[in-house]
């Protein structure tokens, strides 16, 4: 037989076990002492019900320790641990009862007090059952695991809510010690005043492993608290730098608070610092993100407030350097612009002003200009579609802002317009384009605002033309002969646009001064009351061509003057534009003299009445030429109001040589006519000019399609070079042709255009 008989094996095991337990004690005294120790320990470790009356503590800690020593010596710890854990498991239902009861109360009242009670109660249970330290770490770990697993499995989901409330509470406790006094009945204030008053609570959290398990929740509570603080203190306050204030606040208030939840084990300040580093930098990131979000949402108003909001922009810049929210900023601002700026209700002037502010603000936030480029694009496109944009820009160029605030910063030095330059790679300071620049991003060197505005349009010629129109309007309204202001403007503009572009303006200005000199000369030859302004037709923008002739005395005056002028300048001829003038008139009637400053048309009418007493409107019109009927009626009403004329029948007027007694009483006269709207620009605007030009081009298109049959767009474009002044590109032509097609003038098939017959 190879194996010993069974009884022999049992005997060997038995004696081994006996020797093991008896150790080297004589007889069976070792065995007996072990049995005694085992009983004692088991009794000591038995999980007790807290609610049952507390037994007198009859344990002598020394004997317990001795017993633990014996158990350890006998290597029976593992057996004891299993035994103990079984006992714990059997009793866990006691804890469950408490948890269920307190959580029900919390759920009913939503009062964090019950959660605090629960935490306190759980720590009591934990402390009551905790095994003796001498029994080794493994038993403690097993106990912790079993206890926590059970607690967590029993805690309802509403506990997170309560826990969050409890943690939130600690902010106020740590700071002003107001708030829930009840907490201190559950977790008494520590006696040592240097210890934080919420330390017992945090100790309990640690004891139960809550601070570890709900680590992210504690962080999020902290984030929320910080967020709320930032929104509370910073929203709408853009006039002072906030980021540093917030950081100071963090150091003074949040970091001390973080010591308990996050740096509990720290022994020294150094330890604490390194332990807080991770969570601290995350929190700082969060601060930047929150502030950036806040400022991003406010960005439109911040820009409106510029330059008072400079500090907010500086904060934003610093935050954006830390968090990548640039695309969000762009999107938000674009959306805000679309909603609040780029709609028909906004004045072009306001849009321009806001655009200039945006330029300035975003330059501050992002000097390379990528953000600006992305935000500006829709604004520029929108401005391009507005008919009066150029006029507004030009008006601000010459400082014509009625409100007084020009787009141009007075302190900004006047400099020539900057053209987009190709990148200079030999520049030692060259930097690549920023990483988020789009493919069509153009490196715009920080140029002045006017250059940026002018670059909305492809060519500066448009501006120069509009400038001429504006200048013409302004020159013609000047009556006191003081052109210093205009001269100054033109000098400024010369610096910007270059001499050549403003040559025409120069001529216009010289015309004005020359006119005065010519007039002086003519007056010296033959004194007359007529003082014309003589302008060079070719250098002035198209003026609304006059259609009416001055009758009677006025005509004579004009003829005499023209004759003198021709003697003075034989190679030149005068072409009268009477509607641009003004007449100072004394109307001598039988019983009175009426003095008035009137328009030439009004003067012409009253002159006609001196030859005949009664006129109909139609007769008057026939005398002066083709004048708009409404304009004629308006001119007549001036005299009606002055009591010079009277309407005797429908459309028939009679001169009142003797003043009539005012039948209606003097108060009932018609109110003085409101200044007519059409008084302002006698100059044909760019827009009208363009429409007229398009008419010309259309004739050419019609001509070529008539004779050459169907043509492709490219050929039409090529042929249009015969049309004088044609400067459209093929895309603009396509738009124009499409418009003609909609009007039924042409048809298109397979890319070939033909006249619609």
């Amino acid at each position: 037989m190879s194996a010993p008989p069974l009884y022999q094996q049992v005997a060997v095991q038995w004696s081994n076990a006996f020797l093991h337990l008896n150790r080297d004690e004589p007889g069976i005294s070792g065995l007996i002492s072990f049995a005694e120790a085992w009983r004692l320990i088991k009794d000591f470790l038995r999980p007790r019900d807290l609610s049952s009356p507390k037994r007198e503590s009859d344990f002598n800690m020394a004997t317990i320790r001795a017993a633990a020593e014996i158990i350890t010596q006998c290597e029976m710890l593992l057996v004891l641990q299993d035994d103990f854990m079984d006992a714990v498991r059997i009793h866990l239902h006691l804890i469950t009862q408490d948890i269920v009861q307190l959580m029900q109360q919390y759920e009913a009242s939503s009062d964090a007090q019950h959660v605090a009670k629960l935490v306190a109660r759980l720590s009591e249970w934990y402390n009551a059952w905790i095994p003796l330290e001498d029994l080794g770490e493994s038993m403690l770990n097993a106990y912790n695991l079993a206890f926590q697993t059970h607690v967590y499995s029993v805690l309802p989901s509403s506990f997170t809510r309560g826990f969050r409330a409890l943690v939130t509470l600690t902010f106020n406790l740590a700071q002003e010690s107001t708030g829930a006094e009840w907490l201190f009945t559950i977790f008494p204030k520590p006696n040592n005043p240097s210890v934080r008053i919420d330390k017992p609570l945090w100790d309990a959290f640690h004891l139960l492993g809550l601070s570890e398990r709900y680590d992210s929740l504690i962080s999020s509570v902290c984030y929320e608290y910080v967020e709320a603080y930032i929104v509370k203190t910073c929203a709408g306050k853009w006039d002072e730098p906030k980021l540093n204030t917030i950081r100071d606040w963090m150091v003074n208030r949040i970091v001390p608070w973080m010591l308990l939840p996050f740096a509990r084990e720290a022994k020294t300040a150094e330890d604490a610092k390194s332990m807080l580093q991770g969570v601290g930098s995350r929190l700082d990131f969060h601060v930047c993100k929150t502030l950036a979000d806040l400022r991003t949402n406010e960005i439109f108003d911040i820009i409106v407030d510029y330059p008072d909001s400079t500090n907010a922009l500086k904060d934003l810049k610093e935050c954006l350097a830390r968090v990548d929210q640039r695309s969000h900023l762009v999107q938000t601002l674009r959306k805000a612009n679309k909603r609040r700026l780029l709609h028909p209700g906004a004045d072009t002037k306001d849009i321009l002003a806001q655009y200039v502010s945006i330029i300035r603000c975003l330059r501050m936030v992002d000097p390379p200009g990528v953000l600006l480029f992305k935000v500006a694009d829709p604004i520029r496109q929108y401005l391009r579609s507005r008919p009066d944009t150029i006029r507004c820009i030009v008006a601000s160029l010459v400082g014509d802002g009625e409100s007084g605030d020009s787009l141009v910063d007075e302190n900004e030095p006047i400099q020539p317009l900057q053209q987009l330059q190709a990148e200079d790679y030999s520049d030692p300071d060259w930097e690549p384009e920023p990483i988020d620049a789009g493919p069509d991003f153009r490196t715009s060197k920080p140029s002045d605002v006017i250059s940026t505005l002018v670059s909305i349009y492809d060519s500066k010629e448009l501006f120069v033309k509009e400038l001429q129109v504006l200048l013409a309007q302004r020159l013609l309204t000047i009556s006191d002969g003081n052109y210093d202001r205009e001269r100054r403007n033109i000098e400024i503009l010369k610096i910007r646009f270059g001499e050549a572009a403003l040559q025409v303006c120069e001529v216009m200005l010289r015309d004005m001064t020359d006119s005065r000199r010519t007039d002086q000369h003519v007056q010296a030859q033959k004194s007359t009351v007529l003082h014309p302004t003589i302008i060079s037709k070719h250098f002035w923008p198209a003026l609304q061509s006059t259609v009416f002739k001055m009758p009677g005395q006025f005509k004579q005056l004009q003829e005499i003057y023209a004759k003198e002028y021709t003697t003075f300048k034989p190679d030149k001829r005068l072409l009268w534009l009477p509607h641009l003038g003004t007449v100072k008139l004394d109307v001598e009637l039988d019983d009175r003299t009426v003095s008035a400053d009137v328009t030439p048309l009004e003067a012409a009418f009253v002159e006609l009445f001196s030859s005949k007493d009664t006129w109909t409107v139609t007769e008057l019109l026939a005398e002066v030429g083709n004048v708009d009927r409404t304009a004629a009626l308006k001119a007549i009403s001036t005299w009606l109001n002055l009591g010079v004329l009277k309407e005797v029948a429908m459309d028939q007027y009679k001169l009142l040589n003797v003043a009539e007694a005012d039948v209606y009483g003097s108060g009932s006269r018609l109110p003085a006519p409101a200044p007519a709207e059409d008084e302002l620009p006698p100059v044909v605007t760019m827009q009208q000019q363009q429409a007229e030009q398009m008419q010309v081009f259309w004739k050419f298109i019609e001509g070529m399609l008539t004779n050459l049959g169907q043509l492709s767009l490219d050929r039409i474009q090529g042929m249009l070079k015969f049309a004088p002044g044609y400067d459209r590109n093929v895309d603009q032509l396509a738009v124009f042709m499409e418009a003609a097609r909609r009007e039924g003038l042409v048809t298109v098939r397979d890319g070939l255009w033909r006249l619609n017959k």
Binding site: N707, L708, F722, A723
Partner: protein
């Protein structure tokens, strides 16, 4: 063949004349200027039934014209294409004009399209322009000069409108779009 002769003939002329008149570029530019302004005038005049335009954007000396028969005449409601070629010394010499669309008319050669019109030959003057020529041609359609016919048959039956109309329509080809 007509087409080829019309397009080939003028260049030989242009190469001869400038030598007599002086600096080539000067002349060319002044002629171009004149033709441009005539085109502008023509485009803006909007005379009914007459129109002309350069054949291509590369050559301002070669134009295509369209003439509508004057209403109320036997030619009313019909349209003809004509080819206009300007000599290099225009306007000191008249343009060469031919009907591209066959035109049955006493003063028009039915085969070559050549026109017998005094102002296009010996009565030419520099004050005439494309517009005046086109207007003259238009009126010539309604009032032929039967004294110097290029097409004697047409001149003979001019007095019999029905026969004339039959012949006219026999030769007429509507302008292809």
């Amino acid at each position: 063949m007509d087409q080829i002769t019309t397009s080939l003939a003028p260049p030989t002329r242009t190469s001869q004349k400038p030598a007599a008149t002086g600096s080539t570029s000067d002349v060319a530019s002044s002629v171009t200027k004149r033709l441009s302004s005539e085109l502008m005038t023509l485009m803006m005049s909007s005379s009914p039934g007459i129109s002309a335009f350069p054949r291509s954007d590369a050559n301002l000396f070669d134009w295509v014209g369209t003439i509508e028969g004057p209403a109320g005449t036997i030619y009313g409601g019909l349209k003809w294409k004509i080819a206009i070629h300007f000599p290099a010394n225009y306007p000191y010499a008249p343009p060469v004009i031919k009907f591209d669309t066959p035109c049955y008319h006493p003063n028009v050669d039915i085969n070559s399209g050549a026109i017998c019109l005094d102002i296009l030959q010996d009565k030419w003057s520099a004050v005439y322009s494309v517009q005046t020529i086109l207007l003259s041609l238009q009126s010539l359609l309604g009032e032929p000069n039967n004294a110097s016919p290029l097409n004697p048959d047409a001149a003979n039956i001019w007095s019999k409108p029905d026969d004339f109309k039959t012949q006219l329509m026999k030769h007429y080809r509507p302008i292809a779009e």
